[in-house]
């Protein structure tokens, strides 16, 4: 318990940021028209691909073969999320574009 409280104190800046980000996320998309729900979901999906940074860090410091394999897998999956996410979103939005 004490550990958790320590963690809170040591990270209170971060925790502020998290809380503000939550409100920001809500505010930023709350007026989205229904036609953009799918592309927006897909775009958001690509953005959480930022998890790839964690995968790069973990693989960049892997010291055993097992860790290397898992790290390699994590980086591949993270990249899939990023690249696939952005490309699919672009493909959807490209179709809206043609009309205008």
């Amino acid at each position: 318990m004490e550990g958790i409280l320590d963690f809170f104190m040591a990270n209170r800046g971060t925790i502020y940021m998290v809380i503000l980000s939550v409100f920001l996320g809500i505010e930023v998309i709350s007026h989205v028209p229904a036609i953009l729900h799918t592309p927006l979901m897909s775009g958001a999906n690509a953005i959480h691909g930022v998890v790839i940074i964690g995968a790069i860090i973990v693989m960049g410091h892997a010291d055993t073969t097992g860790a290397m394999i898992l790290g390699f897998l994590a980086v591949v999956l993270g990249t899939l999320n990023v690249v696939g996410g952005f490309v699919v979103t672009d493909r959807m939005l490209e179709m809206f574009k043609k009309k205008k």
Binding site: L40, G54, M95
Partner: protein, 478 residues
Amino acid sequence: MNDVMHFSAGLSILEISYILASVLFILGLKMLSHPLSARRGNLLAAIGMVLAIAATLLFHRKDGEPIGNIGWVLAAMAVGTAIGWVIARRVKMTAMPQLVSFFNGMGGAAAALISLMEFPHVSGELIMKSGMANGHVLAIMLGLVIGTVSWAGSMIAFGKLDGRIGDLRVKAMKYVNLSILAAIITFIVYIMTRDVAASAELTHLVIILFFVSVVYGVLFVMPIGGADMPVVISLLNSFTGVAAAMGGFLYQNQAMLTGGILVGSAGTILTILMCRAMNRSLLNVIIGVFGGGGTAAAGASGTIKEVSVTDAAVLLSYSKKVVIVPGYGLAVAQAQHICHELDKMLEEKGVEVKYAIHPVAGRMPGHMNVLLAEADVPYEQLVESDEINPDLPNTDVIVVIGANDVVNPAAEDDPSCPIYGMPIVKARDAKNIIVMKRGMGKGYAAIENMLFFNDKTRMLFGDAKSTLQALVNEVKAL
């Protein structure tokens, strides 16, 4: 001395890049929610991502050590890019929802793997000081559980939308799921209260936790009906966001933190917006109150009247106003192009043609817009159902193609029906109704549709694509 200077300059560049990336993510999301700026928004977010990744590769330091195994890291990224690019480019537009689900699952799996690998390396100093019950371990546990649930759940959602996995509707499911969830929480508490010198001693427990989470992810999505999949994908999308943010906590990495939390909260709101479009509560979706054929809708009474393709063609050609209600049936039959051909032909004959787009038509909100845009249907012809409803009494013919639940009058008439209260396209207000369907099967919500028995309704059975083709030929011949 010089080295130290260099080192801190690198770190500053890293942090500045992360700030820039976070700003780009926020701007990207903002622009993605407006039709005109959406594409640029997506591009901005992508630039932010590239920046964050490049800065990490070049400037990240852990205890002064740069990223190692760089060749292998780049190789892994090349593999991921190649596969992701090909899949994203090749897959048909109708399969978009399952594709989003698939990519979402990949992110969840990556987050889970990171937690699995970081667990044995929790610093001994930290454990000495505050035991296993510290924020670091908590972030690892949550990242693991949420990431895994998101991965397993997304794969099931993918399978369902792809038609490979059916629904599993057992009443007891609710209790089974709740007990597994309780077990997961207990497990986390158990791990965090162990008295050990090194976290590695508990690795086997964490692996068990991983498998329990897989089971939970699968069982969480299994009972939820196909019609609710978009809501589930959106929810799992925000889960992955939170899992990524846990990684941000772990590494004190601001880009992961802002990106993850932003998606977590935006995804949650999007989920709620989607639920609202269907007039359901999120809780209902998750617990699965959707009975599935429970209500027989007062017994299907009345008679079905069919219409021939020729008669339908005549009716359409001599109308002033025609409204088309496209549904997923149109999309699976890949009939959106031929449908547009029909509407162009009718317009040439002076018929005014509009499309009534229900917010949840297709498999995802907005999915139908994407599909029709693919077939070059002009944006101006697409009208949202709320806007077109007042116009329907003046509409000569409404053509329902492969849609069912979104035109079901039971949503207005029958309080006992599971979709009661859902906004619908009020097709029965039109002067004539033509329903194109493959057969008398029920819609995704598995409830009877009284619209088909309406006096003004004529049924046109057959595959949407071939029926539309026949209609086009008839109209051309007139």
